[in-house]
Symmetry: C2
């Protein structure tokens, strides 16, 4: 941390700054609209001097206390209002993990507007589509991603050079907000009266067709954030490392959950495993979120070693394999049960993504698992589990028959495959400006997730696949995820992805793409056919015949989204040409 | 635990019991009315076999898993419906901590009715008034308190002999509910659509005038329970000991908070310090709630010793003295900061009671306090602090002028005395059938608590007194609480209470009632005048002259309410005769 850093003058709150928004007229004293904006105000009130936000691994490192950060958020709100933003307007944010996007999760809400975080890995044409479709009235953009903007934009663009220093356009924007507010402070801003008003607008990756805009509510964001803090045991003494991009589903509500908990947040611009391990070992990190592929990178980094203190990993975005969970446990990213007092837990295998609020279910460890081997336990832990704290129902239902809207539960037998449908306060509000897709998604009165799963006798749901990832082989439904789970347990396999490939006799058969572990590359060099045989033999003892891979292809890397999800759509294109 | 105990046949859930209520028609998939009833259903789904409720220190001990307890709660709901209970009806409960009253907090909600827990220490005439005023349609009563019931009751009375065995009238009532349900199960019961519907009806102690009925909402109870679990760090591995009577403000929402957390609850029928210490030392207790006087009893019990593991105490109901907090810390009921991983905290000095939801504010420990002495730190910890997780605003305001409804904040100087007013989701809904008292309580658009306090520069509120507990001595306002704080730091003082006594010259002067520590009784035997001099000298160095006690009276005990609050109204009657 550069000792030269000082927050800009406009970032320093006045003496005795009030930390209450103006109360809307007409609300009863016992009803306050739920709104995650409340958390930063409370944090600045209770722990003004505690370290809130640290951005260390850049040319111009910055760090902010809750009091200073809260003032910056207020400045942003006023700057947006000065720029013409009205309640309900969308504010696009294109940035890696950095103060800019962290600010936006609070400051845009303080202007009663809706942050629309955009994936930085998208193509300019996709960014242009989202800017257009969302109708964003202003764009906050990190200097590294200005090239993503379409030419001839008609809306105002504020660039952040990510310096936190005077002269940075974003800092000047914040300062202009402070000047505009004329020190009216928080009391000059009003609480949103409708807790079901939009909180965020996040676009799906759109692997098929145009991205869809997922709208969340203030009420849902508040309840999801509180649940994430509770379920992940994030507290005052916690330090959260931002590996998951904050633009992804609004950071699974952790931008608010951490503030609710008074935790310190560290932002990393990129997924850099050396930096991650530096912070794991030196920055008292206690929590992070990441998709399974990121977890694989962490476990297999050369710097990986047994952690001196356990770290809690929230895994979501895709189902982790049992093998991955076992590897994490080995280095101390794991559940610790030692005389019942210092338990940190691995909240593994959460369902996620399609709700855009982050986790909806959670894998609840059972006492009876304690006597299992790590591998056996990992299989249970890889299930998506039960709805978590403030979620409501997650059911597995048969696909509704044509013309019917009735959702019928599958039996809880751990075998029958159906679709997960959800209900409750942390289900999304709607697809933005797309009533048709919204109606389809809410068919039958629940949110249809498109995730195929089985329902176990103990009530846990376990994703078998996205519906499009099922391989129909000889009339049997083979789950590519289940196949991946088994192939990943082969000692030489680092990462594996399985897709359907056309087959003359069986219709479809599984095609496996495999990345070898670094230590196994030499072993199979020039003998990939032998590895193929070895892996098929491994599969044969573990999978039914129709699910055994017909083809095994060793590759150096797998196509992935910015958030680390494997792009099966790209793999399917490859096998379509074979 | 008697090995002979088996839950009644009607308590055993059927195979594959569904654990979802019927969803009301017309609700969107992304809106679920908040309701703490949801917690027991989730607990029974996720941890069916975990120990939920243990009632050990009685002739017929019982213990229930979440699955069994959940079934009993369902049986209670159907039994109530069979008995004619309609949504919104009140169900009176007169019981000490026991399964009966624990069941009622969930089962009555499941019938969409409103539990009305009644203080077991009230006189029959007071109980008759509450039964009449609440319009309770049915009464659930523990066998020990049947004598409190008025004669010629026109409503049905169900007596529990607290046995959990067949033949107990309450058990027969539950069994009748199971028979009535015809195994329609939870799907035969409907979710309450309005989350602002009444959750509980609890009556104030009514030290002046008739008791008032405080109505809470389902939304508020849900949010308060979640916050209590989060703030107290109650989790799956926690064991909560019921010392606080559950009838008191619906157990400060802990009957739901513990279930939300999947914690095990142990119920104690009476505040018996030997039993409390038995459980502290042998039952892996991690949490309990209690008013300061109960904490004093715990600290001074002969069995008291340094705890092998820290226990978290939630103190509320009155302000604890700094001296008490230091004593608790000494034996391990205290904040533990040991390498940041196994922190249990003393959530001391919470504001409470007047909201009937339990804690509203919480004392948030500051890092800077670590370097203070235990005594100095205790002074900070005795403040009521800041609004907690899901509470909203707690302000200190000047008394509104006559004819005005405007509430003006006092300066945050730690000196100016005003009244605490609150806003937010865990503020009560109304006084039952008393629109006049409700309007008065909500004067100025906030809840007027009647608690006098100062506002510190760091935003913490600190109660100085109930308005009627202020002693006006020579035109100066002396806080009886502040005087008690200082007198309690005398090494021979176990407990102290100070009230105003008329004085010819000064108008009023403080009169102190003191209980000596057991070890100090012999020292001052026959020399109470010497002790009086000693205590006055102690006070002189610590308090302004007008606040020093004019009279000191050594007593063997102090008059208290059933919940351990000192009845100052009785002490005032004593001094009025002097």
């Amino acid at each position: 941390m550069s000792s030269a850093f000082r927050p800009t003058p406009a970032s320093l709150p006045p003496q005795n700054a009030g930390l209450m928004l103006r109360q809307p007229n007409g609300l009863p004293a016992n009803f306050q609209p739920l709104n995650p904006l409340q958390f930063i105000l409370r944090a600045a009130e209770v722990y003004p001097d505690k370290l809130a936000l640290v951005h260390p691994d850049v040319k111009y490192p910055v760090s902010y206390s809750f009091a200073v950060w809260c003032q910056r958020i207020q400045n942003l709100a006023y700057a947006l209002i000065q720029a013409g933003i009205k309640p309900g307007d969308r504010v696009a944010v294109i940035a890696p993990n950095s103060p800019l996007i962290a600010d936006a999760h609070h400051g845009v809400l303080a202007a009663q507007a809706v942050p629309c975080p955009i994936n930085t890995r998208l193509k300019p044409s996709e960014v242009a589509y989202i800017l257009e479709h969302s109708g964003s009235s202003i764009i906050l953009v990190d200097h590294e991603y200005v090239h993503l903007l379409p030419p001839n934009l008609k809306v105002r663009v504020i660039v952040s050079n990510d310096t936190g220093r005077p002269g940075d356009p974003y800092e000047d924007f914040l300062s202009s907000g402070r000047a505009f507010s004329q020190e009216r402070g928080w009391a000059g801003l009003e609480y949103t009266t409708d807790e079901n008003a939009p909180a965020t607008l996040c676009y799906t990756s759109g692997t098929t067709g145009r991205p869809k805009g997922v709208v969340t509510t203030l009420r849902g964001s508040y309840l999801a954030a509180v649940a994430n803090a509770y379920e992940s045991k994030i507290h005052l003494e916690s330090t959260y490392l931002w590996i998951l991009p904050m633009f992804h589903a609004a950071g699974w509500t952790f931008p608010w959950a951490n503030v609710f908990a008074f935790a310190t947040q560290i932002t990393l611009r990129t997924v850099d495993y050396s930096l991650i391990w530096k912070h794991f070992l030196n920055s008292a990190v206690t929590h992070y979120c990441g998709a399974p592929t990121v977890q694989i990178g962490i476990v297999n980094d050369p710097a990986a070693k047994r952690l001196p203190r356990p770290i809690s990993a929230i895994i979501a975005g895709a189902a982790p394999t049992a093998s991955l969970i076992a590897s994490l446990e080995e280095i101390g990213i794991q559940p610790i049960h030692r005389d019942g007092r210092h338990q940190l837990h691995l909240s593994a295998g959460r369902l996620q993504v399609y709700l855009q609020y982050g986790p909806f279910t959670r894998n609840f460890t059972q006492p009876s698992w304690a006597s299992l081997s790590a591998q056996e336990r990992s299989k249970f832990m890889a299930r998506q589990g039960h709805p978590f704290a403030t979620a409501q129902d997650a059911r597995v239902v048969y696909p509704p028959e044509d013309g019917s809207d009735t959702l019928v539960d599958v039996p809880r037998d751990g075998k029958t495959v159906g679709e997960i449908v959800t209900r409750g306060n942390i289900v999304m509000k709607e697809y933005f400006r797309d009533p048709e897709a919204t109606a389809k998604a809410f068919r039958g009165g629940s949110f249809n997730t498109g995730d195929l799963a089985v329902w176990h006798p103990d009530g846990a749901v376990a994703v078998v696949d996205r519906s499009k990832d099922i391989i129909i082989s000889g009339g049997e439904n083979a789950s590519s995820l289940a196949i991946e789970q088994e192939l990943a347990s082969h000692p030489c396999v680092l990462e594996v992805s399985v897709v359907a490939r056309n087959h003359v006799k069986w219709g479809e058969r599984p095609h496996a793409f495999v990345i070898l572990r670094p230590k196994s590359i030499a072993k199979w060099k020039g003998r990939h056919e032998d590895f193929e045989k070895d892996l098929k033999a491994h599969a044969k003892g573990r999978l039914p015949g129709f699910a055994c891979p017909e083809w095994v292809q060793v590759v150096d890397e797998l196509p992935k989204t910015s958030t680390g999800k494997i792009l099966k759509v790209d793999l399917r294109k490859i096998v379509a040409k074979l």
